[in-house]
Each structure stands twice: as C-alpha cells, then as structure tokens.
C-alpha cells in the first residue's frame, strides 16, 4: 500500500548549522505514528518544514505519492496537511464556528456571512466527531483541551488527511488527555494519518502504532511500537543506555520539614493539610485546575490563604509575599518556565542570579565577580549546556532552561523546594539529570514537594503522594500502596 506521507532525506541548515541532516518519515493511512526525539533532535525543524514555515534545503516530501512543496502553512493545509500546535492561537472573541471557518466563511446572496449555514456545518462536524462542543460557544469560554478539539475539527473541515499534533497533552489533564485519545482513535478509524509528537513515552505506548526516532538532526530508526519496549525506545532517543528511569537515592527522615495545616483559599483550595519530611520527596497529583498550583501559590506568598498555618522545621512562619518565603528558605520552581520562571531576553548569568540580587549587592552595587562565580558554579553543578553564560537564556534548549531555573533557586541554598511540573517539555536525557538533582537535594536533608501531572513521574519519584480533587485533598498515599489506576481514580 502506498504510504499517506513519505519524507526522504530532508535537510535544513540555519546559518551554516545543520538542524536537520536526514529527515526520513513514513506515515500509513489509518495509523498513529509517534515522532520521538530529545530537544534539538530536529523534530521542530521537521514539523516547520512540513508546515511550510521553513523552506527545505534538500529532500523530498511525497503526499499520496505526489511530490509536494509548501511555502506557507495555508498551502500545507490546502493540500491536506494540518498541524495542531503546542500553543494554540484561537481568536477568543469569536465563536467556535467562526474559528473553524475563519477566512472561508460561507456567504449569503448579499455578500454577508451566512451564519446559519456556518453554524450548522460546524455543529455537524463537531457532532460527527462526538466532541460535545457547541458551535455557537465563544472560544474564550472553552478549556485548552476543548480548543484542541476545535483545532482538530478545523483541520478536518479543510479535508486534511495528515494531522500533526505537537505535544498536545502538555497543557491538559489526564482525563482530558483520554478524551483526546478517543478522538484520535476516531480519526484513525476514518483513515486519517496522525503524527503524534510527545516527550511522554507512556502516552506514545498507549496511543501510537508505530514510531520514528530522530537524534541530532538525523533519522535513527523507525518501526512498530509492538516490537519495541520502553527502555528500547529510550535507548534510541538518547543514544545510550540510561539504566533505570527513576532512581531514588533519598530516604525520608522522621523530622518534619514543611507542615501545612488547614490551608484554605476561597474558590481555589479548601482545608489542605500535609507534612513533608526532611529527605522526603512529597508528590502532589491532580488534574489541571484541581488546586495543585494554588497550594504552592499560598505557600510562596503569591496568593493569600484565608486560613491555615505553615510551619517550617517546627517553627510557625508567616508569609505575605514571595520575599518572605524566600527568606524562610523556600524555593519555588514554577509550572511554566517561559511565563513565570525566566527572563528570556536576559542572559543565563543574570537569570541564575535573579533571585539572589540583594545578597549579591550588600551595598546596592552588584558584585560582578560574585555573580560570575555563582553562575559558573551552577552551570558546572547542573551541567548546563550554554556557549557562554552571557548569552540570552532563550537560546538554550528546554532542559537547559529548566536547569537554569533550578540553578537560580539552588543558589539560595533552600530548605524547602517546591517544584511545579519540573520536567514539562524536557527531553528524556535532561529529565534524568533533573531527577538526580532533586534526589540529591532530598538525600542531603532537603524537603521536596513536587507537583506533576505525569503519573509515571509522580509514582517514580515521590515517597508519598497527595491527590487533589476539586480543590480538596483526596488522601495521602505511600508510593508502595498505590498505582496509576487508583491515582487517576482518586483525582477524578
């Protein structure tokens, strides 16, 4: 059978640096194909060429056996290749139907928009896909997961038969991800080809039929997922043996590090109590919007709790603003490093020093040698790959950016580390390193509280797990006494 999409020898360089040397890919109709690779493997370049954003330097793309060439995303879409991007960009003040038919609105006899036909067609499309979204709803009232479904509907309204999904689950919860997967299964049954790009291996094994691995800009291998196991796939992605995915080196002590009792913030969280011990990695699991991040916001002074007490090393503390929390030795690695973690336009060095500026300038004037050595220390300690520490942090890969955020907080030598999705958008290799950093910190007596929506990660790393559901605690469980199913069950 002729493949739906066949790519061979795709090449692309940026300013003399090869981003993609040999992109090869073959997609069958009616299948889900996972595109895997670490950061910098060439996946994004590959996607942007197929989308028509970048022009290829060499290679062929065959769509249903015919060579194609796109110079814009619109052209790619017209020929039937659609991409659901990681960060969606809907028009929020327009309805679902208007978004789906943007730029192709059916017109009435007098040249106006035929809203009736548009809404009817959109609704028919959504119903066919069983998305249970109203075509007349405004985009801004939808959840991220629903917006993704609308994007999929939009792609299908263009008669697309190849649909790329770039990290579609990075911003949605476990339950919504399952909805997405059933939508993907329906598309597959309709004979579409879906290319699934994700760092989350468990999802790949759940949803995809076959895989292609890129590494360092080149094709490494491809095959059926039925013929490979998880360690085997990791080995291909990373290019070397990594051993166990989660190695725990910490042992919880009996001393309480962080005690939280009766923490409440109206409309966000209610009556949250837990004790994280020194040397412990305390996990918090829950869906998006279940109040996970809100706990951290209250602990770190970003938000004011209406009631509740916080004790550090047995001492009651009062935290009104982030600087109070920092003075008590709390560090907070936020959920989205680009939005709340880093100043992307600034250098690696300045970002590392960002949370320690008063300490580095006792007399108002910055001590530059101190900054320099602090940044050099953190770069060495966490093996941050940067050409110079004066380069903008935006030029680093996701994993290295995340290590810069960790460096910023470790520089303060914290007692308690609050981690919100510490490995989101980070490749397998860098994930290991981050796990090692977290474990080392706990092993040396630090207290770690970690939020994650990746169930393997939370089970693999945590000593105990607090499950959040609708702003309330659904119980605390030891890692031995629980499993993925019961966590998902408790959280929904």
């Amino acid at each position: 059978m002729q493949p739906l999409l066949k790519v061979e020898g795709l090449k692309k360089s940026f300013g003399g640096v090869a981003a993609l040397r040999d992109g090869r890919f073959e997609l069958e109709a009616g299948s889900v194909h996972a595109l895997c690779g670490g950061n910098g493997a060439g996946k994004s370049t590959f996607l942007s060429i197929l989308m028509g954003i970048h022009k290829r330097d060499g290679g062929t793309i065959l769509h249903r056996g015919k060579p194609v060439e796109f110079s814009s995303p619109a052209e790619a879409l017209r020929s039937g290749i659609a991409i659901i991007e990681q960060e969606l960009s809907p028009v929020p003040h327009m309805t679902v139907a208007e978004n789906i038919y943007l730029g192709r609105e059916p017109s009435t006899r007098f040249g106006g928009i035929d809203f009736k036909t548009m809404n009817r067609n959109a609704q028919a499309l959504l119903d066919r896909l069983e998305f249970s979204i109203s075509a007349r709803e405004y985009m801004m009232n939808l959840s991220v997961a629903q917006m993704q479904l609308v994007e999929i509907a939009k792609a299908l309204s263009h008669e697309a038969d190849v649909i790329f999904m770039d990290e579609p689950t990075s911003a949605i919860g476990e339950k919504e991800a399952q909805h997405l997967f059933s939508a993907i299964k329906r598309l597959k049954a309709e004979g579409k080809g879906i290319v699934y790009v994700s760092h989350r291996l468990s999802e790949i094994f759940q949803i995809a039929d076959s895989y292609t691995v890129f590494r360092d800009g080149g094709f490494v291998g491809a095959g059926k997922l039925a013929d490979i196991d998880r360690p085997g796939l990791i080995r291909m992605i990373v290019g070397r043996e990594l051993g166990e995915e989660y190695i725990k080196t910490n042992t919880p002590t009996e001393t309480a590090g962080l005690e939280v009792s009766g923490l409440s913030a109206p409309g966000k969280i209610e009556d949250i109590s837990f004790t994280a011990r020194k040397g412990e990695i305390f996990g918090i699991y829950g869906l998006m919007g279940s109040g996970r991040t809100e706990i951290f916001n209250c602990l770190f002074g970003m938000d004011r709790p209406s009631s509740g007490a916080i004790r550090l090393d047995g001492q009651a503390v009062s935290i009104r603003q982030p600087s109070d929390a920092m003075a008590e030795g709390i560090a907070f690695v936020t959920e989205d490093r680009k939005v709340t973690g880093l100043n992307l336009t600034d250098s690696v060095r300045n970002n590392i020093c960002l949370a320690s500026l008063p300490e580095m300038s006792p007399a108002f004037v910055m001590r530059r040698s101190e900054e320099q050595s602090a940044s050099a220390d953190m770069i060495a300690r966490f093996a941050i790959k940067a050409a110079r520490d004066t380069m903008p942090v935006s030029g680093l890969s996701g994993g290295n950016q995340q290590k810069v955020v960790l460096g910023k907080w470790f520089l303060r030598q914290p007692r308690v580390l609050l981690l919100d999705e510490p490995t989101r958008g980070v490749d397998v290799g860098a994930k290991r390193e981050i796990y090692r950093i977290i474990c080392d910190f706990a092993a040396s007596g630090g207290t770690v509280v970690m939020i994650s929506s990746e169930i393997d990660e939370i089970l693999g790393m945590s000593d105990r797990i607090l499950v959040m559901r609708q702003g309330r605690s659904a119980g605390i469980h030891g890692r031995q006494e629980t499993d993925a199913q019961s966590l998902v069950h408790l959280s929904t």
Partner: protein, 334 residues
Amino acid sequence: MTSIENKTASSWLNSDRRRLIVQEYGIFLAFLLLVAILSVSNEFFLTPGNISNVLLQTSINGVLAIGMTFVILTRGIDLSVGSVVALAGMVSASFVTSSATAGIAGAPYPMVVALAAGILVGVGCGALVGLIVSRFSVPAFVATLGMLSAARGATLIYGGGKPVPALSPEFRWIGTGNILGIPMPVILLAAVFLVSWWVLTRTRFGRYIYAVGGNPHAAKTSGLNVTRIRFMVYVISGALSGLAGMILSARTGSALPQAGIAYELDAIAAVVIGGTSLSGGVGRVTGTLIGALIIGVMNNGLDLMGIQSYYQQVLKGALIVGAVMLDQKRNQGV
C-alpha cells in the same frame, strides 16, 4: 572617519562576528556616519561653536530621554514629560522671580530653593503617575496621558496663563553658564547620563528594572517587589523632567505656560532610535544618548543645509520608523 565607513561596508558582507558587532554598535556607527557626512558636506559643522550648540540643543531632550529609558525598560511609557517640564519650570521660576509677579511671599529665594521646588514638582507628578500605574494597574499610556493634560492645566493655573520671568542670575546660570567652556546643560546631561548608566548596569536596582521589563511574572516569583520598581521608574522620569524644566526656564530666562509641548515625542524617539525595545527588558542608556544626539545632529545639519524645519519633522518621523524596522529585522535574524 572614512576608514570607519569602509570597515562598516565590508564587514556587512563578511563574517558573522563582524555582523554581530555591527548589530551591537550599529547605532553608534550610524551616528558616526551621520557626523562624517555632515562634516564633509559642511565646513561649519565641526567647529567648536557648532558642536557646543548641538550639545546644548540635545541636552534637554537627552535628560528627558534618559528618564524615559527607565520607564520604557519596564514596558511602560511616560507621555507626561513635556507637561511636567512646563510645570516644574514654572514653579521653580516663581521662586526666583519677584514676589509681586508670582505671588510667592518672600521671593526671590536662593537658587537652591528653586531647584528643590522644581525637582519636587517632578517627583510629585512622577509619584502620582507611578502610584496609578503600579498600584491601580492603569495602563501607563492612559495614566501618563492624563498627567500630560493635568500638568499642563496646572501650569496654566499656577502662572495664570502668563509667562513667569526667571530673574535670578544664579538660577539662570544652570541654563546659560559654563564650566571650562562647557555649557552647564551639557554638564548636567553628562552627569545624568553617567549616574543612570551606573544605576542601570552596576546596581541591584538596575537589574530589577531589566527583570521587571523582561518578565514581570518571573520577577515576582523571584521575590522582586514589582510594584515598587514600577513606581520608582516614574518617579525617576518625573524628577528628570523637573530638572529638564528648570534647565529650559533658566536658558530662556522665562517660564512659558506652553513650554515643552510635544517634548515627550522627541524623548520617546531618542529611546527608540537608541535601540530600547518598547516591549521592555532590552535596551541601554548609551543607545538613548546616541539616539538623542542623532536627533540633535540631524536637526542641526538640516538647519545648516538651509532645509526648512517642516521637512525636518518628516525626516525625523521616517528615522524613528526606520530605526524600529531595522530593529525588528535584526531581532528576527537572531
């Protein structure tokens, strides 16, 4: 001068590293190019008298533009500087004029009192705007637009719509005097520049400003008091507007109610030409100074060539837009 030009031309095509240098110092090279062209085409341009004149013309806009740089670095804008110039100029002048003119008992006061009054007016206006922007989250554009109107009105009320003569010679010395032949306004601009450069590049507060402008959320999670930093930049811009207002009154010998109209535009232009990003977090006060000098040199050069001031405005408009277009292109390239 010509050797520099040749170097620029060749490096544009050659190595990446040289291109980086051009990107980094492009504005400085553009300035040198402009100076080179003018000195070749007009023998009067490079005379000490004319240089001193250009610097003098640039000094007020330079001081305002430096204050504006602080604000724009935090993603803000200050449209009120021209009106604050007028108000501060008038209030300070009223302290050194005869009591009959200004209605201030005991005037004329010593220069120091007038200086303090002018700066205080600027600080007060800046603090009010800063409070509105930082505490009440009113967009800077709106808050300073309000102050642009209010401070102008206050100037008219304060002076009864009439000019106030600044009689005291020691006060007038700030605008007309010189030290070792260097005009006082130029010395003040140099001082303001040096202090600002030091604050922005060497101190904790400077780091705060870049962090707040680059990513206010990240700044907040890193424990910075974003509200206070936002407040402070408007106070700085206000204080420098106050200083500029006094220089203006001292130079002209009289505080006019319509002084400083549209000065905010030249100040913003200097900042933008100097490469500071309106989206915050990126920019340098050195660039701003050169931006102000480019505007000053261009105006002067066109004057020397006998080109009408109407055309100068059109050219300045083109220059601002062109500078930002180049900046956009260079940001895409990186």
